[in-house]
């Protein structure tokens, strides 16, 4: 029974095959080549678009220690005000919007995808989800309470600077000193020097553990010289801002630089 059925199927298939061949033979060759050409072209274009799309990203990632003011900055960028205040974030805030200060400008402005990743140490893994697609990373530092947290901040910064995705794609990094509206806030130069010093020390102790540390895939700076941000393969700049008062012009400048309008 089965053998008969199989033979029947075979016979039917053969018939269909012959019919298809006849159909194809009937179409004039030019048309056939044209059709095949169009199909190939569309596939090619599709692949191109895909490839290009990856390189042009409009994502900016806001990260930093818990309590440095990332969520406030996020809402300042989006709405121009910090609303009723914030608490420690438990989840990332992300949305695509046109920067608030530019909503009044005329003409078509490309919206920016801003992601605010929680800074709490338990939620650090969320950063890895967004980092690969980032066009720029903003590391927010609390300029007011800088010295007690300088070690934690520099460790976090070190981790970010040695991640494969950041180094390979040379994602530009902005170190944003937040809360500069307060009188006792440190200057950005001071913060930069402190961070460089701390990262230098970290380099020494981390390379000692480097064989076991699977997360730090790259080493920073030039061995033998003290670390400076200019030695990083990706561009690192420092700027100031104040989330509460809304003075975020330098931040917006950075965003506009790296996410082309």
């Amino acid at each position: 029974m089965d053998a008969n059925k199989a033979e029947q199927l075979k016979a039917e298939l053969q018939q269909w095959f012959n019919q298809a061949e006849l159909l194809i033979r009937r179409i004039p060759p030019n048309q056939l080549y044209a059709a095949v050409g169009i199909v190939l072209l569309t596939v090619f274009l599709f692949v191109l678009v895909r490839v290009f799309k990856r390189t042009i990203s409009n994502t900016v990632v806001l990260t930093g220690l818990s309590g440095s003011g990332k969520t406030i900055l996020f809402y300042q960028l989006r709405d121009g005000s910090s609303h009723q205040g914030t608490v420690t974030s438990m989840e990332p805030n992300e949305s695509i919007f046109v920067l608030h200060s530019e909503t009044s400008k005329k003409g078509k402005i490309k919206p920016v995808h801003v992601v605010d990743v929680p800074g709490h140490s338990r939620l650090r893994s969320k950063l890895d989800e967004f980092l690969p697609q980032a066009a720029g990373v903003v590391f927010v530092v609390d300029a007011l309470e800088f010295l007690p947290n300088s070690r934690a901040a520099s460790e976090y910064l070190y981790d970010i600077l040695t991640k494969a995705s950041v180094v390979k794609k040379k994602i530009p990094l902005l170190i944003l000193c937040n809360k500069v509206d307060k009188v006792t806030a440190h200057t950005k130069e001071f913060i930069r020097k402190q961070l460089e010093k701390e990262i230098d020390k970290l380099r020494a102790s981390r390379t000692a553990l480097s064989a076991a540390d699977i997360t730090n895939e790259f080493t920073l700076g030039v061995p033998g010289e003290t670390f400076a941000f200019s030695q990083c393969r990706n561009k690192v700049t420092v700027a100031e801002a104040s989330g509460l008062t809304g003075d975020i012009s330098q931040l917006e400048q950075f965003i506009r630089e790296h996410v082309k309008p």
Binding site: S66, G67, T71, Y75, D79, H83, Q84, G85, T86, V87, T88, S89, M90, E91, P92, N93, D116, P118, H120, S121, R122, L123, R124, S125, R151, A152, E155, K201, L202, A204, S205, R206, A208, L209, A211, A212, I214
Partner: protein, 643 residues
Amino acid sequence: MLEQLLIFTRGGLILWTCKELGNALRGSPIDTLIRSCLLEERSGAASFNYDAPGTAYTLKWTFHNELGLVFVAVYQRILHLLYVDDLLAMVKREFSDIYDPKKTVYSDFDDIFRQLRKEAEARAEEIRKAKQEDKPVSNNMGNDSGDGDDNAKGRKLEAHSKGSFVANRNAPAKGIANGKENGSSNNGAFDVNKLQKLRAKGGKKTDTIVNKVPKVETKKKITKKNRIWDDSPKESKLDFTDPVSENGDENIQIVAADQGESMMDKEEIISSESESEEDEEAEKGTKAETKKKGWFSSMFQSIAGKANLEKTDLEPALRALKDRLMTKNVAEEIAEKLCESVAASLEGKKLGSFTRISSTVQAAMEEALVRILTPRRSIDILRDVHASKEQRKPYVVVFVGVNGVGKSTNLAKVAYWLQQHDVNVMMAACDTFRSGAVEQLRTHARRLQIPIFEKGYEKDPAIVAKEAIQEATRNGLDVVLVDTAGRMQDNEPLMRALSKLIHVNSPDLVLFVGEALVGNDAVDQLSKFNQKLGELSPSASPRLIDGILLTKFDTIDDKVGAALSMVYISGAPVMFVGCGQSYTDLKKLNVNHAASSELSPDLTSLFVEVNHFNSVNFVSFAHNGILVYQIAERHPVTCKWRK
């Protein structure tokens, strides 16, 4: 009176606060709540107590998981407000109706809130009056009528489970707390059951010891040959005792023990477990439950997605997960709390299409486990040592723990590792009680060629430690490792002595040494240690346990649950893992693998697993179920694994 009621998003933006109760909250209770409770996977708890100078608040919360909102109510602890749960539930209902993701100001909610509060207060008054009338009636009756009232008023189930935990012994007033709360274990209070368990355990231990002794004696005539377990080369020298006199004064030149690279510095080969196999197993586990619903409806639901996840839907999956966690040696109450926390975070969420409930629950649980095991603070000891070096102080580490967990052995391992990184180490023998403890450390010190500070036996450990640190400062040494005597967590005088040692010397790191074999006792050990260190310390801000050293990891296959219980109950990160008895057997905990091995099904399933914390064995199962056993060599670098 309520101090404040806040509504905020999970992303951190405050959406609404009550302007009428305009009292500014002292301290930062909300941030503390988030950091120490909600992010620590304790969101299944009923309430949170916050103490600030001058105030004592109690916080209660509820989630709206679908919209990603958190509702928190803050009130003074001395007022046992009964209507808070009720109010939170009502607020949640009303607010979800008017919530719009784009809106950030909700001023119209003020009036609604005022009404709701009045309603809730009125209801609470009614109940209290009803309770006072029923006072002569027994406790159970009070519960039943409480439940009856609740159902009649159509309260949600969550309001029940979040019954106030602030223990108020007045039964009538607490009639609202349902039967579940009364029946569940009372955290913190002395539990008679636990004491009996401990006694039983102690009894068992002495039994096994008694059995072993007679056997050894009969074999005395026949000289024992060394049994070879694996293909490692035969060890010629078994007797490591040094030819020195009893008080060890002779100066024998011994070549420093160099056994190669400590495993702290070796890379682990990472395995790639396939998610699909895990899912298969999860499905098999919950198949028994889903059969009730019928095949077609469950298929349909998994494709179309369900409207909202109810607690009843989550229960079977969570029960299965809890059982799985317990087979992996996680303490029972920790597994319970974790499951409650995951339930709280998933309730009311929309199930996406093409996802099963079990996979959602599993994903949430895995995330929660990774979150718990991720250290809250840096565990880079070398960095801390360098920082102390700059300040010209020695970095002091104190090893504490119960008896027999491996403090002295692991102290030597840590010393070896530090030595390999060019750090000057000194040991301090503050175990002045156990016979042979000082000699043990002395032997280690001699083999590692590091200085040891000892004062013999029957001395005050706190004084010995103090002098050791002074000596280290004088000689410019970098690290002092202080060994203490093992002590049971219930032994008050010994805990007092330990607390005094820590207070007097203020070490940089208090390392709790716990063995991976421990089961439910881990919870008790750690919580009592922390509690006693806090209570018995004369200072205002006592030092608690800063880190955990997990020992005897090579004795458990994949039952890594002890790590989870310890980390959950104390909040301290696991800094080292001891996995053997030689100097190189010290590792770091790989968080992702610990989390996934917690959730992986047991050994009778079809998957391949590599035990990262045990470099000696791995077990592989062929596809059709035939067991293929392999014992690899002690080289994690060459330890590969295949499917």
